[in-house]
Structure formats: structure tokens, C-alpha cells
Symmetry: C2
Subunit: 124 residues, 2 copies
DNA sequence: TTGATTTTTTAGATTTCGTCTAAAATTATT
DNA sequence: AATAATTTTAGACGAAATCTAAAAAATCAA
């Protein structure tokens, strides 16, 4: 385990990322506060390996950059089509349901639910 | 309705796109067979407006380019993590289930199920 | 229809995000 | 300690999509 990867893991486990969804670029900036010279490629390399190890989860966002979250549990995302805010949502039986419907061994899923959040609903 | 947009719609409704998932670039090439001068920007413009009108659906792919499909019904996608092939899957009650679980008016969803397709399972 | 207004198209530049490269540094192995 | 394997680094590179400003086309109004 390199210092760089350990740093990224600690960032994910810190309050900085609790319940948050961070872009690679944000994570690069957070990492550089502790380790100024860390390279962009290193952040991307480690994000990839951490995702492959199941330590973090990548959400392929619609418009902008991909976003990472640190929670271990598989879950869905509510995405506001107006302000683009993302909220986690637990969907307990979805994986099992999908295995049954698909008739195949589904390994994981990515579920994005589009809606308009309360805030935006008010201010429109 | 411009000729360009009409052409793109006809391509989506033709056999060329039935049950297929096409990238913007593929659609540009298909369009240029009929209208050689059509611009890349025009294809992107119209894909966006057609998606906003609900005529087509955009799937933000993990690695490569976004992909569009022409089917009207909301549905999920089974994506093979080995060969990246995409298959449609009908998930009848998902939208209603999600509205209930989220306690909010979910407008639509994007569901990607990761699995290894039969072909790839054999050849590993 | 004619002229004015709005919308769309076009070509190419630009931006954004992420990957690749090759050398240097670090880490692991013998 | 010497060798091998892995990771980091800086910056170049690439793919995908958006932006720009001018031209063309479509729409609207009289």
C-alpha cells in the first residue's frame, strides 16, 4: 500500500466524504492539501483500483464528471434534474429482484432516478 | 421540423436502429449516407432535443461514448462487464416501486445491471 | 408573398474528462 | 543488498461533446 493510496482511503473515510459524492478532481484537490505533489494520474489510478476492489463506487454522471462515493452498501441515486443534486436511496431487494427477472447472475447495478427535489420544486 | 431532424427520426424508426444502441458517431455516419454534409453539431443538437422530448433515450455508458436507443418504453439495461454488450430488459413495476420507496415523484430512471453474458461466461 | 424575426445548421475550434507514456521512485522479493 | 515488480509522476495525448459566430432555413406577421 503506497502513501498515496492510503491518503485517498483516509479521505474517503473522513467526514470530507461522508454521504458525499466527489469528483476525481475534487479528490485530487483534497489529496493535495495533505500531499501537495500528488499527481492527477495517481488519483485516477487509485480510484480505479479502489473501485475494482469494491472499496468505493463510481457513478457515471449524466452531464459532467464521474462521481465517487464511499459507502459500501449497494444503493440507488436520486438525481434532481434541475439542480443536479444527488441523494442516496436504499433499495433493499432490487438486486435479488433483478436476478430473478433477468434470469442471470447480476453482479451489481447502477440505478439513477430522475426527479425534481423539494427545493427546486418550490423555487420554480 | 428541419430536414436534418426528420432524417434522424427516420433513422431511429428504421431497421437500422430497431433494438439497437447507437452512439452519436454511428448516427452521424448513418445520417451522412443520406445527407452527406450534415454536421456533427447538428446530430448532437437534435439528439439532445429528441431526448428532451422523450422520443429517444440516452444511456451514459461506463467507458466509451453515450449510446441512444429508440424504444419508447422505459426499461433497464443488462451490460456485460466482459464484452460490453447491452441487452434491454423489461422491469414492469420498477417506476411505481421507486416512487413508493423514494416518497417522491420519480419521473424516469436509468438502470444498468452488470453481469457476464452467456457467451463470455463460456469463453473464459 | 414579402420582409422581418426566430431557429437551426454548419465547420471548426475549444473544453472537459480521463488515459497513456516513459522515466524515476518506491516497494516487494530473493 | 541486489534484483524484480509495481507505482508515481508530469505532461502529452485522445475521445467525446459542447461552444462559437456566421450562414442558412424555417416561421411568423402584415
Amino acid at each position: 500500500m503506497t502513501k498515496q493510496k492510503a491518503l485517498l482511503l483516509s479521505i474517503f473515510r473522513s467526514e470530507l466524504c461522508k454521504g458525499q459524492h466527489r469528483t476525481a478532481d475534487e479528490l485530487l484537490l483534497l489529496a493535495r492539501e495533505k500531499m501537495p505533489g500528488i499527481s492527477r494520474a495517481t488519483v485516477y489510478n487509485n480510484l480505479r483500483s479502489m473501485e475494482e476492489e469494491g472499496l468505493i463506487r463510481k457513478i457515471t454522471a449524466d452531464g459532467g464528471a464521474d462521481v465517487y462515493d464511499s459507502s459500501f452498501e449497494l444503493h440507488g441515486h436520486l438525481i434532481c434534474t434541475s439542480c443536479h443534486a444527488i441523494k442516496d436511496i436504499s433499495v433493499p431487494t432490487l438486486l435479488e429482484d433483478m436476478k430473478r427477472i433477468a434470469g442471470a447472475d447480476v453482479d451489481s447495478y447502477e440505478l439513477k432516478l430522475r426527479y425534481v427535489c423539494e427545493n427546486c420544486r418550490k423555487t420554480v
